[in-house]
């Protein structure tokens, strides 16, 4: 009899942060792919930068908080906060180095070959360019600069988080002692970081970085001083003073105590140019209270997020992928009654391959339909001028019962969501400003319509937010249905979100934070039972992150029992493959492509009576325990077939997919001799092919008279 296996051993798990860094690495790999158009590669570098910034501000910051609070608990991989910080530091430096080597050695020369130059040192400007730059400085930059000196009467100023600044060492003119004084000036964030200047040659494009322009004329800011040296620097602070929701409860209390003691987030990273003057660095180190290990010396321009701007420059279309126009959904004809289309059959939507318009249209038609009684929707990360908001306001004005659950806690969406939420309220909508202690992450819209044979509910459920702009960049799946069982559940969900008691029972939906975890574990255990009875058992799933310990342990148990598990996990994966006797039956693919993979699909074989689910939740503790999430079944045969095809194509992807290896690294598949499969490109094609061919209303240039109406 086998001894009870302990699936919770720390060595079976990968640390979450280190896994995330590997994901950022995979994104960087796209930037290194020579087959991708140049500007797309720039875009990827920019993405890795902004990702890394967010990672530091949130994840690293909270680890530092743990260290300060004396929190000694280990994570699922058995590492303490301190150990994690050390490992992260090492991996981050490697990543940053690769970023800049890619930029300096591959991308900049390629840009040059294509007639685009980025001036990184103002000394390289020609005379004419110099004059242009100086005038730009005089007219546009100088008025908004605020240089600040530091001395006995003026303490070190508050340097803003993520801002780019220039530090300078000055000596007073005429001072024989040549005492060094420190000054700093922020590079204005209101102005564009890259400035287009006239090129030396016809037909080329030249850009210069803003800080270079400032550095060139920095003496103009300190008229009574000599500028000894000036170098740019950038800091990152602990992001916000609200608690990072992912941490354990006891930890939160500790951190809260700590936070009360300080007024703004501490500095957790300092980036400086590698050639920076030692004395200047020393002053910064001391006044920013930063440790040596948190100082990054950069061989290139700081903060590469400006490359996103470059990606969007005018012209140069051949250096980008042609903009993809989402195709229409075959079952929905624009302009026709969408409710009728949904009544005919459930409809699956695959974004961004298919357009997000039907969802917007769904709300829009509902808002003006006299038979519609109520519209209810959850809104998370929606832009203020979204057409959905306008339709909801219109619906309320038309006398419909509109309930909207607005999630304001969406981090880094700093635009003032409160403004449009209040606007909705004024129009007559019932706005619920989120739930206490829970982030509403579910994506659901419900329309209640009074029809001839009674009330019918139309529901849209999805894996992605109701944001029409991100719907063009993220891959997501959605479903329209008017099934009574799901409609009843949808009503129950909104009742719960309004504060009423849970329904006596759920028909089809599994809702977090109460029921979803149990459901998943039950579904996995069921496959185990099938495998133990000798029947075929497999699980295929796609999600964005996998780091929940209980779910991973359940997957290990399943693999040990013989269940074949194939996963597509875009980002963090704390599961390790290939552990003998534990995870030999598990494979993990990660797809990083042109569109950001965001959909979540769960497919359980169940001995032939297959069950396929989609939902808003990943297999992460925060999704299963601390957020409101919805997982819904796909039951119509036709839709199930579509979803199966999507998942299988992704599992077959051999161009953009990385496979997780037993040693924790990710490798691309050996494509030799195989047919190339790029899942995202394939879906683009399929979306186009699914549309019925345009048929002319005439045949062979002969018009056809219509039949008379009886």
């Amino acid at each position: 009899m086998e001894k009870e296996k302990d699936y919770l051993k720390p060595e079976y798990y990968e640390n979450r942060e280190l896994s995330w860094l590997k994901f950022d690495h995979r994104v960087l790999n796209e930037a290194r792919d020579k087959n991708i158009p140049l500007l797309e590669r720039l875009k990827f570098v920019s993405i890795t930068s902004s990702n890394l910034d967010e990672f530091f501000m949130v994840r690293v910051a909270s680890l530092k908080d743990m260290v300060h609070a004396g929190y000694k608990k280990r994570d699922i991989a058995g590492m303490t906060a301190k150990e994690q910080l050390e490992a992260i530091n090492k991996d981050t430096r490697a990543l940053v180095e690769m970023q800049y080597s890619t930029y300096n050695r591959s991308l900049v020369p390629l840009l040059h070959n294509h007639g685009i130059d980025i001036i990184s040192a103002y000394e390289d400007l020609s005379e004419a360019q110099g004059e242009y730059v100086d005038r730009y400085f005089e007219e546009t930059i100088y008025p908004v600069l605020t240089p600040m000196a530091v001395d006995a009467s003026r303490p070190f100023p508050l340097i803003r988080n993520k801002s780019l600044n220039i530090a300078a060492l000055l000596t007073k003119k005429g001072d024989k002692k040549e005492e060094l004084e420190f000054a700093t000036v922020q590079v204005p964030s209101v102005l564009s970081r890259i400035v287009s200047i006239p090129s030396q040659e016809e037909g080329r494009k030249t850009f210069i970085l803003l800080e270079q322009i400032i550095e060139r004329s920095i003496h103009r800011l300190f008229l009574n001083y000599n500028v000894v040296c000036a170098y740019p620097y950038r800091i990152m602070r602990n992001a916000d003073l609200t608690i990072e929701e992912d941490e354990a409860e006891d930890l939160l209390k500790e951190i809260q105590k700590q936070l009360k003691k300080r007024q703004w987030g501490e500095v957790i990273r300092l980036e400086v140019e590698d050639k920076i003057d030692k004395r200047l660095l020393g002053i910064l180190k001391e006044d920013l209270h930063i440790a040596q290990e948190d100082i990054f010396k950069i061989n290139g321009p700081l903060d590469l997020t400006f490359l996103m701007k470059m990606y969007g420059m005018e012209g140069e279309d051949e250096l980008r992928y042609p903009a993809y126009r989402p195709k229409r959904v075959p079952q929905i004809v624009p302009g026709e009654d969408i409710f009728e289309a949904i009544r005919k059959d459930d409809i699956l939507l695959h974004h961004p391959y298919q357009t997000f318009d039907p969802v917007v249209d769904f709300i829009q038609q509902a808002s003006v339909d006299p038979d519609v009684l109520a519209i209810k929707q959850t809104l998370y990360r929606v832009s203020g001028n979204s057409p959905i908001i306008a339709s909801l306001a219109q619906a309320a004005e038309n006398g419909k019962q509109v309930s909207v659950l607005v999630e304001l806690k969406a981090r880094f969406d700093e635009e003032n969501n409160i403004v449009w939420a209040k606007k909705l309220e004024k129009a007559g909508c019932h706005v619920i400003y989120g739930l206490v202690g829970l982030k509403t992450h579910s994506k659901i819209a419900l329309v209640v319509r009074r029809e001839e044979d009674g009330i019918r509910r139309y529901v849209h459920l999805g894996t992605g937010n109701y944001n029409d702009s991100t719907a063009k960049l993220y891959t997501d799946l959605g479903m329209f249905t008017c099934s009574e069982a799901i409609g009843e559940d949808a009503t129950a969900v909104f009742n719960m979100l309004s504060g009423y008691s849970e329904p006596p029972s759920w028909n089809k939906l599994a809702v977090a934070p109460i029921w979803l975890r149990k459901r998943f574990l039950k579904l996995i255990k069921r496959e185990v039972k099938h495998a133990q009875a000798g029947r075929e058992a497999f699980i295929k799933a796609k999600m964005n992150s996998l780091c929940d310990r209980d779910v991973i342990a359940a997957l290990y148990e399943a693999s040990a029992a013989g269940v074949k598990i194939e996963l597509v996990v875009r980002g963090i994966c704390c599961l390790k493959v290939g552990i003998p006797g534990i995870s030999e039956n598990i494979t993990v693919h990660s797809i990083v492509g042109n569109f950001l993979e965001h959909s979540r699909i769960f497919w359980f074989h169940n001995d032939g009576q297959e069950e396929i689910y989609m939902g808003s939740a990943d297999w992460m503790p925060r999704n299963l325990d601390r957020r409101v999430e919805i997982m819904f079944p796909v039951e119509h045969e036709a839709l199930m077939a579509q979803v199966r095809h999507i998942l299988e194509t992704q599992l077959a992807d051999n161009t953009k997919a990385h496979i997780l290896q037993p040693d924790g690294t990710y490798e691309k598949i050996d494509k030799r001799g195989k047919r190339l499969v790029n899942s995202q490109e394939q879906f683009c094609e399929e979306a186009q092919n699914a549309l019925p061919k345009t048929v002319h209303a005439y045949q062979d240039r002969v018009f056809i008279p219509a039949e008379p109406v009886e």
Partner: protein, 510 residues
Amino acid sequence: MKITTFAAIYIGSYEVSLKVFEISANRKIRAIDYVRSHVELGRDAFGKGVIGYELVEELCQILKEFRSIMDGYKVDVYKAYAGNVFRNVGNELFVLDQIRLRTKIEVTVLSNSEHRLMDYKSLAALPKFEKMIQKGAAVVNVGGGSMQITLFRKGTAITTQHIELGIMRIREKLSQIVNMVSHYETQIQELIDKELEIFKRIYLKDKEIKYIIVMGDYIEDMTKGFSKKDEDGTIETERFIKLLNKWYKKSTEEISLELNLTNEHDPLILPSVVLYKRLSEELNAKYIWVPGMNICDGIVCDYAERNHMIYFEHDFEEDVLAAAKNLAERYQGYSSHTEAVLNMSVVIFDAMKKVHGMGKRERLLLQVAAILHDCGRYISLVNQSECSYQIIRATEIIGMTHMEREIVASAVKYNSQPLQSYSVVSDKMDQAGYMVVSKLTAILKIANAMDRSHKQKFKNIKAALQERELVITVEAPESIVLEKGLFSAYANSFEEIFSVKPRIREKKVF
């Protein structure tokens, strides 16, 4: 197809609920929305005796939200009721008034019998129910403040008893000692056993019941995990008791975890476990059925039945008669004399239809009065009318409203006493009720007089209205001099009320 959108609101001891239905000929009764909100009215009501200002605030707030939900569905008609919790408080009228003013919702407080009738109707709408009550069943309805046990045999309800012991009331009663004892199940059990024992002794005696049909909170959670018999969805009582025994010694948290309840520290769990366990053990039925209906379902069934929107297989009137008979039997007041009076009353009633202007319902009340007219003799021979009156008033009969019971009781009382003027009884009934009482009494007296000797001398009785006379034709092999003679006394009061003179005509039979 005509669809009526109906909303049922119920205010209970710890929960306020709203259920919206669509009633139509095609799809019968279809539930479209169900919201519940937790408001602990019972705490104030059972503890303090009045509902405090803060709770009234909370309640009005929720009812206002309910109003907007109803408006959202464009509800055609609604009915709002409050249960036991309001019956017990001193400031009932003020609270109802507040609700009306602030939320524009009219709430009616249900008497216990009305409440049970609604629950009962929700069950009667289910086809399984008919089958079960044929074989003997007890419907147990456990609420926050009290519970109701109704016994059925051969398809009709024979008795229904109200026990002032509900889940919340148990908790309130024992709230003082909760902290003194680590496992206070024993105390709960003692409380329950006392009540159940009396019930069992008097009402259950030799009756065999096959099914217990349970409605109440937590019972659905407790039986959710059970595998049920395919044909009728019932559970074997033995297995249920075994499970409850397992939970008996566990803590609230442990039980809540097993049942996957929202509130881990729900103090009502333990009392309900003990209550259901004792009920199952004492009532001794083989199977338990949890139909999952609640009071809101009852409210809509009641409305649908009253307005003839839904056809019910079950005959509620039969229940009333069966319960009355059972009651009469208990007081040993049912005999062939009673049967004779019953038959005669009905004959006279039917003959006089054009004159008395009463309807089907009153005919039923007359029958009940006839069945029960002698029940008081059990207590006192001399004072029997007063005793009968009290017995009838105190006994619940499912299917009869409070007012109807008052009418029947009064009719029986004035059967042996002279009819008092309206001013004397105006506090108990309105004028219309008084009129019914007078008419029923008059008929009852005549019918009773015709069997003065209790020998059922009359056979083949027919009655017919001929101008200003009610001719009652009888066949009597024996001498009916006694009956005829005493008849005239009652005939006068009959004539006073109906302006019709009753007369006995003998038809000689050889």
